[in-house]
């Protein structure tokens, strides 16, 4: 059917054997690799420090424009920083619903 010489047949069988072992190992690894916890990292990743952020950084937060960022900085300077994220609600323009969205982006260090 294929008219292969003996040497060609041996080469084909050898290559397929190697491939077959590889497929078996790959399948075993996929199913038997233990799921391990490695470390605890980046707890505050992606959050902006409300007491340290400058105007440009504040503007990058979704929902904060130029005016609101100025008001936040003004409030911070007036009160020597934020003690609690809830204080954001005292700033003009930050309603309860807006606060709920914004608090996800901030952290106090």
């Amino acid at each position: 059917m294929f008219n292969l010489t003996r040497q060609e047949r041996q080469v084909i069988v050898f290559l397929i054997s190697i491939g077959l072992i590889g497929v078996g190992v790959s399948f075993t690894l996929k199913n038997c690799s233990p799921v391990k916890a490695v470390a605890a990292l980046y707890q505050d990743f992606g959050k902006v420090d409300l007491n340290a952020a400058d105007k440009d950084l504040l503007i990058k937060v979704p929902g904060i424009g130029e005016k609101l960022s100025c008001r936040i900085i003004e409030f911070r300077e007036k009160n020597s920083g934020f003690n609690d994220l809830e204080e954001l609600k005292q700033i003009k323009g930050i309603t309860e619903s807006r606060y709920k969205k914004l608090k996800e982006f901030f952290i106090l260090k």
Partner: protein
């Protein structure tokens, strides 16, 4: 019978199709493969029995390959997350593709290495399609930490009935991540990833820079697609027009482009008087680099493997067999990712090449083209017949998948392919000139623009012909 490699590849494809259509497990296919392997080994001396057992072995191996490819690793990112829980996840990994920037939004494929669940960080794997609502200049191999919402790809179907989720799954992508701002990412290390691919991406950026510096759009966009296989800058109307005339294949890097590149490389190496054997070996290496530069898509991998087989056959003074090289390239792609068998690009690429090497000589013999005395007429007829045999093989899959039937394809290819060859040659010359004599590059770019405009206008004219294309 065509080369044995092609027949064995057809059997491998059959195994993959059977595994896709049936619900048998990996274990069943794998155990059957082991049995057939033992039987093949036992019958090495008996030709007929060996042929039967090896066919069965390749069939079950194809099925096992697909089952294994469909199996998700226990560490896969898709297994860690509960979709639609609305929570942001933190994932660490590498940028695994060249990022695409469109409408101030960056998207790229991300290879996950770890995920944070609660306060713990787990080793993970799997590919994620990331959408970032900001324009950030990433590069392939950059290590990042991302925070965003993970979800399954939408199960929407396009006009041709193809599922987006299925399409991404065939690329090994099972999750989509939406990152809101640049603040939700940390850039760690820039020099990770597969070094040859990093080199290829670097070279691609350099060449792309040269093209866009010396040529303006749309000529630069067309050149970028024809030489580097990057269609991101092609305007939709050009894409649509070429689709309707069946000449869209010139806008992707395929065997046609690889052939031209091989020709240029061999010519250049001959000019600098390298010995024949070194010339062939260097040409193979450079073709592999070019394959990486163009993103190693199916048509370019097929063409590179075929070209490498031919060049190596000359190197080792063996007679190359085109059917065997075609089969080998298909097996090579399917061994890496058997799901590619269901990719339209893979199917069209192999069907068209098979038609050119199998159907074209038959029609040529039937029409007795060889007996014609007028050489230009033979040349013209050959062009028509190659185009016709290619169209004959691809018109049905195209009608099925894209709901388009283009009778103008044969005529369009007859006019467009020689022009596209000129554009590609001129494009490579432009790159070489802008490297060596940048002051002369302007003249080359004017010629390039003229040729591209001619190509686009001829294509637009053909697309407007009556009965050029029917929407099914």
């Amino acid at each position: 019978m065509p080369g044995p490699m092609l027949t064995l590849t057809a059997i491998l494809c059959l195994g993959i199709i059977v595994a896709e259509r049936t619900g048998f497990s990996f274990t069943l296919f794998y155990c059957s493969s082991l049995i057939f392997l033992a039987l093949s080994l036992a019958s090495l001396r008996k030709r007929f029995l060996f042929d039967i057992f090896i066919s069965c072995l390749i069939f079950t191996l194809g099925a096992a390959l697909l089952r294994n490819a469909r199996e998700l690793s226990a560490r896969d990112i898709a297994k860690f997350i509960r979709y639609q829980d609305g929570q942001a996840h933190i994932v660490k990994g590498l940028v695994d593709s060249e990022p695409s920037v469109k409408n101030n939004r960056t998207s790229f494929v991300f290879k996950a290495e770890g995920i944070q669940i609660g306060n713990l960080n787990y080793a993970s794997c799997g590919r994620i399609l990331v959408y970032l609502k900001e324009k950030i200049d990433f590069s392939y191999g950059e290590e990042l930490i991302l925070r965003g919402c993970l979800s399954r790809p939408a199960n929407i179907r396009n006009a041709f009935g193809r599922s987006y989720r299925g399409y991404l799954s065939d690329q090994g992508i099972r999750s989509v991540m939406r990152v809101k701002t640049g603040m939700d990412l940390i850039r760690l290390n820039k020099n990770k990833g597969f070094p040859p691919k990093r080199l290829a991406v670097f070279l691609k950026k350099k060449i792309e820079g040269m093209i866009f510096r010396h040529t303006s759009s749309p000529a630069a966009a067309v050149l970028d697609a024809m030489i580097l296989g990057d269609k991101r800058h092609i305007p939709w109307f050009i894409n649509d027009s070429m689709m309707r005339t069946g000449t869209i294949h010139i806008l992707v890097v395929s065997g046609f482009n690889v052939g031209i590149v091989a020709f240029i490389i061999l010519l250049f190496l001959k000019v600098i008087r390298l010995p024949r054997k070194t010339r062939l070996a260097v040409a193979v290496l450079l073709l592999i680099v070019y394959c990486f530069i163009t993103g190693a898509s199916n048509p370019v991998v097929r063409a590179t493997v075929m070209a490498a087989v031919f060049l190596l056959a000359y190197l080792f003074k063996r007679e190359p067999d085109i059917y065997n090289s075609l089969g080998l390239s298909a097996s090579f792609i399917l061994a890496f990712n058997p799901r590619q068998l269901f990719d339209i690009g893979f199917q069209l690429s192999f069907v068209s090449v098979f038609s050119i090497i199998f159907v074209y000589p038959k029609i040529r013999a039937l029409l007795r083209v060889e007996s014609l005395k007028i050489r230009p007429l033979v040349f013209l007829l050959d062009g028509c017949l190659v185009s016709f045999s290619c169209w004959l093989a691809t018109c049905f899959p195209i009608a099925y998948y894209f709901k388009i039937f283009s009778p103008v394809t044969v005529l369009a290819n007859l006019a467009i392919v020689p022009l596209a060859t000129l554009v590609t040659l001129c494009g490579f010359s432009l790159i070489i000139i802008s490297l060596t004599l940048p002051s002369l590059a302007a003249y080359f770019s004017y010629t390039e623009k003229l040729l591209v405009m001619l190509l686009l206008n001829i294509n637009a004219f053909l697309a407007r012909l009556p009965a050029a294309c029917f929407d099914l």
